[in-house]
């Protein structure tokens, strides 16, 4: 079997698993109902209980899981290829931290309940501010190391301001609300919210997907990549803007969901022969699968209140990160 055909087979397999996980995500929940009957009811416009649950609760949740998961997997693969480091994750440039801060400020000023788009718009505003700062920095010729340092600074500042908002929060309920939102979740989002952020996310996906060739060239170092015709400044702008748009918008809707962007590219890398370009799409599909699976687990684990998705991914992801660091320590290659 040739490399190209085994890569296509992997993509096909991931796609099928993703569809199966999405179907399971639609079918599994707190209310048992017949998925096929509910689908027929939705299509025929009959407002049965099943149809309402499917349309108002399950479908937005599943779509959001697909979109957020694909974003995190794709952006993680792009970021690891861009930084040539298997420990990188999409949040490293500070966009997710800034998006979280934007949403937290909406809570803090009591705007979250005023209109349904307030939260995502606040998150997007935060991501846009951070994205513009990074974009300007990359455009003025800053090195990749400078960009990471800027990301660290943005993350620290956003974290400090979130802590400040919690500290000064007008009521304990507001503080709890903020804490819960920060844990990340796909529950109780509307289709309208999903469609609000979808255009920006899709543009971000495209920007990241077309960096494939440059990321391949970059595995030989910046100089050789430049000699192969890939402008490093151009690549930095693409990765920064793609990640800002896709990840920033995702976080604005779902809150920060950690470790998906770190773990998925790492798991799939050997299956694509470590080729950065081939990892992009595979990792996006894998991210969607993992996010949906974790969200199904959240619904199956019977706790009150419901476990937050970001909590589950962190509980799975953190030990994985430790094992990864342990392996890298022994094997520097």
């Amino acid at each position: 079997m040739t490399e190209a055909s085994s890569y296509r087979l992997l993509l096909a397999a991931l796609f099928v698993v993703m569809l199966a996980t999405a179907a399971a995500s639609l079918a599994i929940g707190y209310v048992n109902f017949s998925l096929s009957a509910a689908v027929l009811d939705v299509l025929s416009g009959t407002p049965t209980l099943g149809a309402v649950i499917l349309e108002e609760l399950r479908l937005p949740r599943t779509l959001l899981g697909l979109i957020v998961g694909f974003t995190l997997g794709l952006a993680g693969a792009a970021m690891q290829g861009f930084l040539r480091n298997p420990l990188a994750e999409p949040g490293i440039i500070g966009v997710s931290g800034a998006a979280s801060l934007g949403a937290v400020l909406v809570f803090y000023f009591g705007l979250a309940g005023v209109f349904s788009f307030a939260l995502p718009l606040g998150g997007i505003a935060g991501a846009v501010v951070a994205g513009i700062a990074l974009f300007a920095l990359a455009g003025s010729g800053a090195s990749t190391t400078t960009l990471i340092l800027a990301g660290v600074a943005i993350n620290s500042l956003a974290g400090a301001l979130v802590a400040l908002a919690l500290n000064l929060s007008p009521s304990p309920y507001a503080a709890v609300e903020i804490m819960f939102w920060l844990m990340g979740s796909l529950a109780d989002r509307s289709l309208a919210q999903v469609f609000l952020v979808l255009p920006a996310i899709i543009i971000g996906w495209l920007l990241l997907l077309v960096t494939g060739r440059a990321l391949d060239a970059l595995s030989l170092g910046e100089e050789t990549a430049a000699s192969l015709g890939f402008d490093m400044r151009h690549l930095r702008l693409m990765v920064i803007s793609g990640t800002s748009l896709a990840v920033g918008s995702s976080v604005a809707i779902s809150g920060a969901i950690g470790f998906v962007g770190l773990v998925v590219p790492h798991l799939l890398r050997p299956l694509v022969g470590h080729v950065p370009r081939n990892l992009l799409l595979a990792s996006g599909l894998g991210g969607a699968i993992l996010t949906l699976a974790a969200d199904i687990a959240v619904r199956l684990i019977d706790t009150q209140p419901e476990l937050k998705l970001g909590v589950i991914t962190a509980i799975i992801g953190a030990p994985f990160l430790l094992s990864l660091i342990w392996r890298l320590r022994r094997d520097p290659a």
Binding site: S219, L220, T224, A226, S227, L228, G229, G273, V275, P276
Partner: protein, 255 residues
């Protein structure tokens, strides 16, 4: 492709690395760049490759300003082999060599897969690396890895080949083989510039030698005229042992 450098100067971080360099890279010829560490050989190679813009002077590709050529077109015409053979992912040798075909790849896939395949195979056969095709490059020795990197640069099938110390990590047999490869591609019309520290290899395999010292061109010409005892003494501060074998120069640093 012909490259003309006219009165080229280059500064990096405010420090002048090269000044007033005049030379021409001609199709079908091998030019050796020799000189002490830190003389500016690698910087000159990068300027010729279009990777760093000259501070002053003119760089011409086929008689036209270098900046006219798009990065992609330049990448198809100039293959560049760096000294550093680092690789961040454990790609197999075959996949690594295939990166040399990136300038010939479209956004959605290869433009001519058969030609890519042939170029990769030919480059690996010439460098004696076909047996490593399926091995991760991280498991190869330094010299083996260097040959895979050489194959990567050959796979570009560029009309100009710029190589920075391609033989430094190689055993004697592969040093000779690599120099012969450079001669062979020159025989097919490629202009070659190679940074070397081995003066005998420079004398035997290069049509011309540029001796660089402290960022300036100390001498440029056929090896017999440039690599003289007097010149080597003034540039390196060494007394070489120079002799002939089978009608070719042998230059050994002696004291």
């Amino acid at each position: 492709m012909r490259i003309d450098a006219r009165r080229i100067s280059a500064t990096i971080g405010g420090r002048t690395i090269l000044s007033g360099i005049d030379l021409a890279v001609e199709p079908g010829k091998v030019m050796g760049l020799v000189g002490p560490n830190g003389a500016g050989k690698s910087t000159l190679l990068r300027v010729l490759a279009g990777l760093i813009p000259p501070q002053a002077g003119e760089l011409l590709y086929d008689g036209r300003p270098a900046a006219v050529l798009s990065a992609r077109e330049r990448a198809r015409r100039i293959a560049f082999l760096t000294q550093a053979s680092r690789l961040d992912w454990p790609l197999t040798a075959a996949r690594l060599v295939s990166l040399g075909r990136l300038p010939h790849r479209g956004l959605l896939g290869p433009l001519d897969p058969d030609r890519d395949e042939a170029a990769i195979r030919e480059a690996m056969a010439a460098t004696d690396t076909l047996q490593f095709a399926d091995r991760p490059v991280s498991t190869l020795s330094g010299g083996e890895r260097m040959r895979v990197m050489l194959a990567r640069a050959l796979a570009v099938e560029a009309s100009t080949f710029l190589a920075d110390e391609p033989v430094t990590a190689l055993d004697p047999a592969h040093q000779l083989q690599t120099m012969q490869i450079l001669r062979d591609i020159a025989g097919r019309g490629t202009g070659v510039v190679v940074v070397l520290h081995d003066l005998t290899l420079a004398a035997r395999f290069c049509d011309s030698v540029a001796l660089i010292a402290q960022g300036r061109l100390a001498a440029l010409g056929v090896p017999q005229d440039v690599l003289t005892a007097a010149m080597l003494r003034s540039v390196y501060g060494i007394s070489p042992y120079i002799t002939e074998n089978e009608g070719e120069l042998v230059i050994i640093p002696w004291r």
